[in-house]
């Protein structure tokens, strides 16, 4: 999934090999069935969220999302997501670099470790982190029920995104340009800043957008780890859930709409970045 984002740029070049054809009777029917299924499953339910949020009018919507506790949750989620995305940009690029340019014993194990947070159920991710950073921590670090629990949980679940978008781009990068730069006297740092980094930026941006979106919408890994304390460790998804459980669907839909708007913004940004990548490619 993650890889597909980065390889799309490459696909743009080969497109001219076969020009897409017009719909035939069979494919038209297929498209119709697919669209009905997609609408019933995804589009109509998401539209229902927005409609329910809008039912009470703008004032009710604004009142719900500026409720002190809700606003604190949104603030915590967004600020932590930004922090974690920043860490991922640096660490993800570094890990991708190590995986592509370095060779050492056990590299395949490292590859598995990077994908693990993506494949692990989120509730298990919470339990996993709790066993090292919880009350019985062998390290003596207890972050359970503290704001830093949110940071660590976000870091865990967003780990693969930047690594997996940067890695294929770094692999395809031609060594010649770097060698040319080095032979012209550029230092390693200058070569990285002026030659490598500019070609990595679209991939890093795509990975960052994905990890931001993932962090903002995270729920499962926090259940056991953060304690969901209002004003302290409660994130936006938990606010939505508690409104659902109190049968206050309108409030839940209002906060959910905020989350949807954030995801939509991320998708738009991703689309722009991808188009720019394929134009360059």
């Amino acid at each position: 999934m993650v890889l597909a984002v980065a390889s799309e740029g490459r696909a743009g070049r080969t497109k001219r090999l076969g020009r897409p054809g017009h719909l035939t009777k069979v494919s038209g029917l297929g498209l119709g069935v697919s669209l009905i299924w997609f609408s019933l499953l995804v589009l109509i339910p998401l539209a229902a969220v927005v409609t329910t949020a809008a039912e009470g009018g703008w004032d009710a919507f604004w009142h719900t999302i500026t409720n002190e506790q809700t606003f604190a949750a949104i603030k915590l989620t967004v600020s932590q997501a930004f922090l974690v995305t920043g860490v991922n940009i640096v660490m993800g690029t570094l890990i991708a670099w190590v995986l592509v340019r370095d060779s050492f014993f056990g590299k395949r194990v490292v590859e598995v470790l990077i994908d693990l947070p993506f494949a692990l159920p989120t509730i298990v991710a919470g339990l996993v982190l709790l066993s090292l950073y919880g009350p019985k921590s062998p390290l003596g670090i207890d972050i359970a029920n503290k704001p830093s629990a949110v940071t660590v949980a976000f870091l865990f679940v967003t780990l693969p995104f930047v690594v997996r978008t940067v890695q294929p781009v770094l692999e395809e990068l031609e060594g010649d340009v770097e060698e040319a730069a080095a032979s012209l006297g550029a230092s390693r740092f200058t070569t990285f800043r002026r030659i490598i980094l500019p070609s990595l930026i679209p991939a890093i941006a795509a990975g960052a957008a994905l990890s931001f979106a993932r962090a903002v919408s995270e729920y499962g890994s926090l259940v056991l780890l953060s304690g969901n304390l209002p004003f302290k460790t409660e994130v936006t998804s938990v606010r939505v859930l508690s409104s659902v459980e109190n049968n206050n669907t309108e409030a839940a839909a209002a906060v959910a709409t905020v989350l949807l708007v954030i995801s939509l913004a991320v998708i738009v940004i991703l689309d722009i970045v991808q188009r720019r990548m394929s134009r360059r490619g």
């Binding site: 297929g30 499953l41 890990i95 370095d102 919408s217 056991l224």
Partner: protein
């Protein structure tokens, strides 16, 4: 003039081989950045201090964030020997939950594979209005919070005041707080995975072979089975394995739509939460261990597939 250039080249070759003085290009002397580390080809193979530092940072980060915590769960599972696992596997409620998880995941994977292959073919091979919008919307389920997914499904299929739910329930078909709701939620969250894997591969293999097959008289089904399918085989398996991992592990969306009725709408991930909160830590760790085992085997399968695909 010619001779001068020749002399410069000779000088450059000489410099390359011998001196740390610098490289002479177009008559300008370029000082090497780091004396003694001139030849770039050799430089890349030679491990500098920075390489080791980066490797150390990356490995330490992964060790503290992923490797150590995950290994602790395995250790905690076997803290009392095998008893936690055998207790779990002899509890009929737990077995029911595990079975439900597997059945739901299999249904979700089958539906998403059929839909995914069809949609990927439509998006790559055909031209129709709104294609770009559709291809962007397909990705929406990946970035929507699982709780919002659950809420969205409740609003439409909820039995009390859902848009379609009331009608469905009147006709004796309960979706929310029942197995169909869990299936829908699971399909929703894993929806784009197969499509995302197939689209770039389909674009890359092009349609020339398919056209050739068609012109030689193969029908659509034959063309797909003999030409298209072998080309996308590995990407398809990769997408299916990812979907399977995602489907087995979905928690938030399932929690909202399931109602968590003991033994009926309880999945493995819900069981982890319940057992942990009820101070049955052994049971929670044992269930988690099973889920970790499945996740790890999915990734290992995927990493075994990847290089094969590249070699082609």
């Amino acid at each position: 003039m010619d001779e001068e250039t020749y002399e410069d080249d000779a000088q450059r070759d000489l410099d390359r081989e011998h001196g740390p003085e610098g490289v002479r290009l177009a008559g300008v002397l370029y000082e090497p950045a780091e004396p003694g580390e001139r030849a770039p080809r050799r430089r890349r193979k030679k491990k500098t201090r920075a390489t080791y530092l980066f490797r150390f940072i990356a490995l330490a980060y992964l060790f503290f964030l992923v490797a150590w915590p995950v290994s602790l769960v395995v250790k905690n599972t076997f803290a009392n020997g095998l008893s936690d696992l055998t207790d779990l596997l002899s509890d009929p409620d737990a077995i029911k939950a595990l079975k439900l998880t597997i059945v739901v995941a299999i249904i979700a994977v089958i539906v998403n594979t059929i839909f995914g292959v069809g949609m990927a073919l439509l998006l790559v091979r055909y031209q129709f209005p709104g294609k770009r919008l559709l291809s962007a919307l397909i990705d929406v389920p990946l970035s929507v919070s699982p709780i919002v997914v659950g809420l969205a499904l409740v609003l439409v299929y909820g039995g009390r005041d859902g848009w379609f739910g009331v009608w469905l329930e009147d006709h004796g078909f309960q979706v929310i707080f029942a197995t169909p709701g869990i299936v829908l939620a699971t399909i929703f969250v894993a929806l784009p995975l197969v499509i995302r894997e197939l689209v770039p591969v389909l674009e890359e293999i092009g349609i020339e072979q398919e056209l050739a097959a068609r012109s030689l008289g193969a029908n659509a089904v034959q063309t797909f089975r003999r030409i298209t399918l072998p080309g996308i085989k590995w990407a398809l398996i990769y997408g299916v394995v990812l979907s399977l991992a995602r489907s087995l592990g979905e928690f938030g969306a399932v929690k909202v739509v399931s109602g968590n009725v003991l033994g009926q709408t309880r999945t493995a991930t819900l069981m982890v939460e319940e057992k942990y909160l009820n101070f049955d830590k052994g049971g929670a760790y044992a269930t988690s261990f099973l889920l970790v085992l499945v996740a790890v085997s999915c990734i290992v399968v995927v990493s075994l597939i990847r290089p094969k695909e590249k070699r082609k």
